[in-house]
Symmetry: D3
Subunit: 280 residues, 6 copies
């Protein structure tokens, strides 16, 4: 399937900011007709994501660039792995280099970090899910990278999931029961209703209101365990807040169904990947 | 001055991905006419960046939102600092919340990390400069965040600086002298010519070729010191590669003029900032 | 809240197609400085929708046009009702006229038709919901018009609801149980899972698979009643197919929870609304 | 010839609103590599329009989809007719399904309704023409659908035809002679000048002013006949207002040259067309 | 009335190409808070056009810039005339300077050249009209500039005028009568039909075919006079080809109705206009 | 390499303004299936530029058009030269004709005028450079046309070169030394610093301040010679202001390094090129 128009638009923005005035070095030094080939080379261990975006960057720079993927998103890779090759005009390879690496490094960084969190809870019943704390303009790409890393997606945006938070209750001057009822009355019936709570009383109120999912915000492990004993099987339970690699397994072992974690998107760092260019 | 059309475009992408179907929770629970106010609250120490983008996000969500900045980009802040307030329709504040935080958290994260690198070389003559390893679509914003953190900008793109790398020489089959001459002949006279070298022989060849700037790639400290002794005053010297917070001061103390560092953009993590919403 | 960028984009398309070459009649005949006022006049009974779009059309044509709404979306109106006034340059009023009417007539047509369907099932427990059979480019607007007419929205798009149809089962070579399990495993936990069935056996299979919603496709009233007796309280039941104004009440009286109807969007006709222009 | 950029833009809007978050059902249930084929199947009698748009939707969803048209725009079709086939990845066919049907159903609905009006006046000398009462964003497509149905186009927009209406005269404080003279003096010489009148006096004034076309607005049949006896051969005569399928033939038989009808675009309903999907 | 979206888009392109990376000189040298004022100063005699575009450039650069027009499009100006003032942030004035001048200089150049052609035929009955030989992206602006210079517009594009040329006849294998009949049958009735001819036989054939306008291509003065004697009063006559300032009056004096001239758009040069900036 | 998105955007604007409503003449007269071929024929001597844009126009009109270039940008051509051929649907060739000619005529006009200036200074050491006085929306294209004519580019925009003018000094209340120091401190180190002066005192101050380039604005030949004797070898010297074909060689012979000339872009006229269309 083609990349979405939104991702094509992001690629266009990216190329505009790097190439709007051309590549003055290559244009000065390298003959227009020179052909070359290149390898996308992994330099740190990690999990791949964004290869299709890199391919689209090449196509957007020059239709004459031939991209061949040698690996796929979601695949763990070791240093030294060549995950794709590019062949075509030398100037075009150099023009595409930085932008394609910037995409694939960031997305693979997210997949890699996600995979670490997922590995940490392996064997527990909990599912790692992302948040809306994504890089503006990158949400679909970053959510796909989370999936590549073995995580799952929470809602994509404010329209495809009901999540009633403290702010909603405080602003609306409503209790949980009233807010859940309002959501049931107004929101599409295709969406589950989730309620954020910070206490066991909140858990009980959300259950009573018929919430489908209860977000347990910033609870200590003991309280999480109690919440599970109260609500398990009656609603999905999602732990959230302060989820670190050190702590996530103990959170999962409380028996929650889901653990949401902003860090996998907002605090991932680039995976080290480079482009090696060769004469042909 | 208005934000650029490119940044407005990125904000539009960001709002589309979060709000294209509206905010089903707020629309169900919160009255359309309810007013509220909010505070942008810093929760970790850092350096601010992106406040103007956050203001523009508010304006793009609802012209009725009143943003008041209480701090400015480049300012160091402590946990508990309120750096801006927002007043207006409650639904609109909640609709803008995540997107504006995603912008200001990432940009402040970059400013904060940059400031740490800059502090590490304080008092040496070296200038910290960024690279083109920025988030696609975000270059101008991230380069501004680097400046907010006290860093300086390297070239913005492939058109506003000549940087001859090994790849250029290898592909063109030219030596440094030939490549510099080609750049002088073809590139705008307003641009300096920079040459990447990996050895002292390269430094000498670049000097002989009349390079304005020499990029010393991945050199050990001893070699950097020798490069400085050879070339200082004849060309600007830029150290690059493997620049970490631990190592940067010793690099700076070799006497180089510039140190370029990709990590400040590709490996910064979000600064912890939240939105506190209140009834009015 | 501002209109979304997508709706602004649709307005821009609409004005481009009507005004790209200016208004050669008004420019020839009417002085540039002449002021006028106008009334948006309803000529057939109906329910209003799209007034905010009409206001945005005026603003997009000329910032000097002053729009004042005298009614609001969702309001039933009788012939002769003046639902908004416009004041400003005469040429600008005439330039905006056709485009704003085209928007508000179509959207009010949808709200009006929806209101008829909703009235027909008043007092039954069933909820009228729309479909994805909307005018391409108009989905958010048409779904808002359905709400203005008293209907409810089904999913907005292919990403915010799971709906397993015959095609999915046939193509995947899976039974309902397998498909529901796959959806649970892969789709965000915030979404309910809906399954389309055409028989009572299908209803039972969907229930057994744990479907949250069962779409009863093109069933006769008797079968609908049996489906309700089997599944009510265990899953939401949605009737679909061949829903007409004549038949909808008997469908609702079978006890289904939801009735989805494509006609309210794909076969609504324009409500008769005109613009009366006056000298000032 | 390629579709225009405006139509490509409308297709992009349409796909964004249906697919911005992907297709969560197909992605969960159907293997990425599964191939399928589909038939575009007519279920009600009508006239086709928009097949090229449907093809472009397929290409915009996935370049790997192969579209083969088995009929062409303007062709009358009976229930059961397969008018096109699609082959390619199953997920892509399902992703394109709703959007391509929404386009072709609406446009064929317009062609079908137009064809009924055209048939009603067959053998009279009158030509059925459309109006600017089109769906915003769809003008070129809907005007092409009118042509597919055997109708003709009136002006496309406010810039490619001079049409002096009562509003122009009232606002400008001019009589018909003055307004026609102003139009002649200012408008491009390539455009005919049309004047709207509501009385026989108006017809005579328009003739005296040298109008090329006279729009006879909302006239009874008797008055139309008199207008024809006064003006035929001296100006083109266009009847307008209250044109229904019942009445149009009697209007045509008065001898007018043109009959303009908003209903063919603003009140057409979707033609019933579906997509049948098969395994391969 | 607002500028069209197309012109706003052209302004956005223009600012992107000049300001995408900011103004590195002003940002380095001039304080962000410094205010200034500026005058748009005419340095050569000419006719103004494009002032509204210049104002829109200022608004697009910085909403804080206050533009005050002291003259209007179509007005003849002498060296030394100040035609507008700007007040606001100094950096913003300098950022807008070059782009606004580039617009107003080019458009005023066209108005100025047009005015010379119009003056040359003053008192003859002929009307100077432009062509489609405009700068791509600038058609509406350049046609407005022609009007500002006292000229008139020919058709705007390939859709708002029928012009049958030799190529059409040759490709279609039709004579003039057949082609005119085809145009009458297919094109909107609001458009006149124009035929290009190169001989008196062509004039007679076009008249016989009922052409509304005859384009007399590259005819000598004698032939033009004969064409006028044959066709005047029966069709509009438009002379075209090789129209220079030296020759245009003698062409007009043959009695043709219209003279079309590509040079006024494709060969106009910039009017000398500058921006004088002052401290406040 | 593909054309940039900005140029593709300009082509889209151009086609929209010519073809948004189709080609009513060709659609009426020429069969949809008729094939034709065409030649791009030079009618005046000049230097080519913009052939790749013309090719892209053809592709944007109809993917079925086959473009074959017989010459290349920068090549001098004589009247009668056929520089490209087009084959494909006759309607598509006629639809593309005017837009592609408008591009290639204007760009070749710039290349031709540039080549005259370059020829005038042949053998002197001076380099002809362009300015930012380009057609808004066309900068990259016009700067490429200057290179095609043998000229060189000055900075592309306000971000890729530091040029301190009188306005900067006056507004900032700084002398040259202060302004140059500020630029060194704030601007990227990859950019040279240029200072505009109008006197020999200015030359000396700029040299003392360490300017890399000195722009000698509107100096008489004697003063230029003195400036050269003062500064040659210490800074690049660029003459500017009042550069005409008559005067440029004497300016070059003063020994300046660069001569910048706005006329090559703001006052170039179209090169005469036409499209000859043939039946096949």
């Amino acid at each position: 399937m083609n990349l979405s128009r939104a991702v094509e638009g992001l690629i266009a923005l990216a190329l505009a900011e790097d190439l709007a005035q051309g590549d003055v070095t290559s244009d000065s030094v390298i003959p227009a007709t020179l052909a070359a080939r290149a390898e996308v080379l992994v330099k740190s261990p990690g999990v791949l994501a964004g290869l299709d975006v890199a391919e689209a960057v090449c196509a957007a720079v020059d239709k004459a660039l031939a991209w061949q993927a040698l690996a796929s998103d979601g695949q763990p890779v070791a240093p030294g792995a060549v995950v794709a090759t590019i062949a075509g005009p030398a100037r075009s390879i150099l023009a595409a280099e930085r932008t394609l690496l910037n995409f694939v490094q960031r997305l693979s960084g997210i997949a890699t970090l996600t995979a670490r969190y997922v590995a940490a809870i392996e064997g527990t019943g909990a599912r790692l899910v992302d948040t809306r704390k994504t890089t503006p303009g990158w949400r679909a790409l970053e959510k796909a990278a989370v999936r590549a890393g073995g995580g799952h997606n929470h809602r994509f945006n404010l329209g495809d999931g009901v999540l009633i938070k403290d702010n909603h209750l405080a602003l609306a001057g409503q209790d949980i029961a009233g807010a859940v009822a309002a959501a049931r009355a107004n929101a599409p019936h295709t969406l589950r209703v989730e309620v954020e709570v910070e206490s066991l009383a909140g858990v009980r109120a959300a259950l009573a209101a018929g919430a489908d999912i209860i977000l347990l915000d910033n609870m200590a492990l003991d309280m999480l365990r109690e919440a599970v004993s109260i609500a398990t099987g009656k609603a999905l339970l999602e732990a959230s807040g302060g989820i670190t690699l050190d702590r996530i397994r103990s959170v999962a072992e409380t028996g929650v169904d889901l653990i949401s974690c902003g860090a996998v998107t907002h605090s991932a760092t680039a995976l080290d990947i480079s482009l090696e260019v060769y004469t042909v």
